[in-house]
């Protein structure tokens, strides 16, 4: 199984790229899941489909799902407690709800536990996909997500929870399984934030992420008569060059001039091919 996390500054096009990647993988014949994190689904309104905690088909062989901390934790607790009664006793009262809110990283750990629940860990309901593309949170929140199992691993050293935490970290650090991707734009603030996030990921031992530079333009300014527009494009191309220098090995993705999410995704998927 392969897991790819896609993150980046808010607004850079993570969701488009994650969806496009998923389409591309499915086209290769691989059973693909596009997973969104959080409690409200963006893909739901973008694809005009009801998307909840169980995967549903999107298109071209890609399934889509929404994973949030609370439902992941419920599922995990049920698996751990192996008793419906105990589970209900614990989870259906305000004290437990408070606990879930308070326990630092518990919610995040549950999400990561779910993401890594397929082979080789095989915990809970089967997750039979060859590749899972995770449209993860924006950079800051994403780093906090990854911090959770590490923090918990320090706090909880023994017992089933500790074992789970260690095995989750094991899968996330296994480069044969997990890849981290950061999306940026050829713009100052996203580039800066991407550099910082990439550094932090490496400092924390998650490895160097793959970088994608979104919204790139082709070098076609010659035939443009409007000098102001030409200046705009030239500025953009300059920043593109800068971004490529900052991130050697980064892949450029085109600026798709469409206001419709799904058709933009299709166009990016074409390019990825």
């Amino acid at each position: 199984m392969e897991i790819r996390f896609i993150s980046g500054k808010g607004g850079v096009g993570k969701s488009s790229i994650a969806a496009a990647m998923a389409l591309n993988e499915a086209k290769k014949g691989r059973k693909t899941l596009l997973a969104e994190l959080g409690h409200q689904s963006f893909f739901e309104s973008a694809f005009q489909k009801s998307i909840k905690n169980t995967p549903v088909p999107w298109k071209q062989g890609v399934d889509v799902v929404l994973w949030d901390g609370t439902s992941c934790l419920r599922e995990y607790a049920l698996h751990l407690l192996k008793s419906e009664t105990l589970y209900r006793l614990f989870f259906e009262n305000s004290v437990s709800r408070t606990l879930i809110q308070i326990a630092p990283g518990l919610s995040e750990l549950a999400i990561l536990g779910k993401v890594t629940s397929g082979p080789p860990r095989n915990i809970g309901p089967a997750l039979n996909y060859e590749v899972i593309i995770v449209d993860a949170f924006a950079s800051g929140h994403f780093l906090a997500l990854l911090d959770a199992p590490v923090g918990l691993s320090n706090a909880v050293q023994i017992g089933p929870m500790a074992e789970q935490t260690k095995s989750i970290i094991g899968v996330l650090k296994d480069k044969a399984i997990t890849q981290f991707h950061l999306v940026t734009l050829p713009e100052e603030l996203p580039i800066q934030e991407t550099l910082e996030t990439s550094q932090k990921l490496q400092e924390k031992g998650w490895g160097a992420p793959k970088i994608w530079i979104n919204r790139c333009l082709p070098d076609l300014v010659e035939s443009e008569p409007n000098p102001e527009f030409k200046k705009f494009v030239e500025g953009h191309l300059e920043r593109q060059k800068l971004a490529t220098k900052q991130f050697p090995g980064a892949q450029k993705l085109p600026w798709v001039l469409s206001n419709h999410f799904e058709s933009s995704v299709d166009q990016i998927a074409e390019v990825l091919r």
Partner: protein, 345 residues
């Protein structure tokens, strides 16, 4: 929108991450200061360069940026610590709480804590009487509505019913619990320990014991904050980027916010088209034409969206600036653009 903003006591900028909320809040503050109002811009997460520009090295302080304009970065840890000190009546033993690991986590990463500390800073600023208007930049959220729900979520944790359980999860100290739920409680305790480890359980108990004397104040502070947010002098501005999905969400947000008694006075659609896409622009080649039809369609969607919001909520479109806003000159430029765009056509 102009009238509301010019007479407002508090302007709350809400919106998701990545739409330029912080720079917009700074620009609006700059504009108000230029109008002669003593303005404070409370930011949460400004980019490093904006921080340097505004001289915001020490978080939590009100730094004067120019005439009539002050700025400050919210420091969640400091805000919580100050709150605890005050709420415990300057009891020196409250300092022990600051060492509790759970407390440290709570004050920074717990959902609702950033929002609570923003509001706490807002309350202090307003009650100081030093400013005519405070512009609050809210923490980046997945959804605009998160900001409004967060403080209540936080306050719920500190309600007595819940706190009592955590103070004494074994039921050893309160006889009241013994007879009623002992076996059930023991089960829950076991599960808790299994899920989180016994160290966490004891930290939790320790935490709730330490906050016992002042936990009610957190709840009442959250109520004070809510009162300020629904006051007639408080206006909400939704900052959004152009994004079909974000628009749909914004519509839902506008309905929700109205239901709850908040005043949404405007929506600012940021970076809606680039600088060169102005009215009397020169004709272009093939690439420019592609861009033009892209922005034309986008603007139509904005109009459609504005229509759906009705006449009570103004929708203002802000073009992209030539460069990223990262210094005072950039903020000043954006402020001027904003001032022009909110003029009635």
């Amino acid at each position: 929108m102009i009238k509301e903003l010019q007479s407002a006591q508090v302007i709350v900028c809400v919106g998701t991450g990545g739409v330029g909320k912080t720079t917009m809040a700074a620009a609006i503050g700059f504009w108000l200061a230029g109008q002669g109002r003593k303005t404070l811009v409370l930011t949460v997460d400004p980019a490093q360069r904006l921080k340097t520009t505004f001289g915001l090295k020490t978080a939590g302080e009100w730094i004067q940026v120019k005439e009539n304009l002050w700025a400050s970065v919210v420091d969640p840890q400091k805000t919580f610590n100050d709150f605890v000190r005050k709420a415990s009546g300057e009891d020196p033993s409250s300092e022990k709480l600051f060492q509790n690991n759970l407390y440290k986590q709570l004050t920074t990463t717990l959902s609702g804590s950033q929002e609570f500390t923003s509001l706490e800073n807002l309350l202090s600023a307003v009650s100081s009487g030093k400013f005519d208007v405070v512009v609050l930049d809210t923490p980046p959220a997945q959804h605009a509505i998160d900001f409004l729900n967060a403080p209540q979520k936080l306050a719920m944790i500190f309600t007595e019913g819940v706190a009592r359980w955590f103070r004494d999860p074994g039921g050893k100290k309160e006889n009241f619990w013994k007879g009623l739920v002992q076996s059930g409680t023991k089960q829950v305790l076991k599960i808790l320990e299994k899920l989180t480890g016994s160290q966490f359980v004891s930290e939790l108990s320790d935490f709730f014991q330490k906050i016992h004397s002042w936990q009610g104040k957190l709840e009442s502070r959250a109520i004070d904050a809510h009162r300020l947010l629904v006051a007639p002098g408080t206006h909400f501005l939704l900052i959004t980027g152009f994004d079909e999905a974000k628009f749909k969400e914004s519509q839902g947000f506008a309905q929700e916010i109205k239901k709850s008694g908040y005043q949404l006075s405007g929506v600012v659609v940021n970076r809606v088209f680039p600088h060169w896409y102005r009215e009397n622009r020169a004709a272009g080649g093939p690439l420019q034409k592609k861009f033009e039809s892209y922005y034309q369609e986008r603007l139509k969607t904005v109009e459609h969206f504005a229509g759906k919001l009705g006449t009570q909520i103004s929708v203002v479109t802000i073009p992209e600036q030539n460069e990223d806003v990262h210094d005072l000159a950039g903020v000043a430029e954006l402020a001027e653009v904003f001032a022009n765009r909110i003029q009635p056509q």
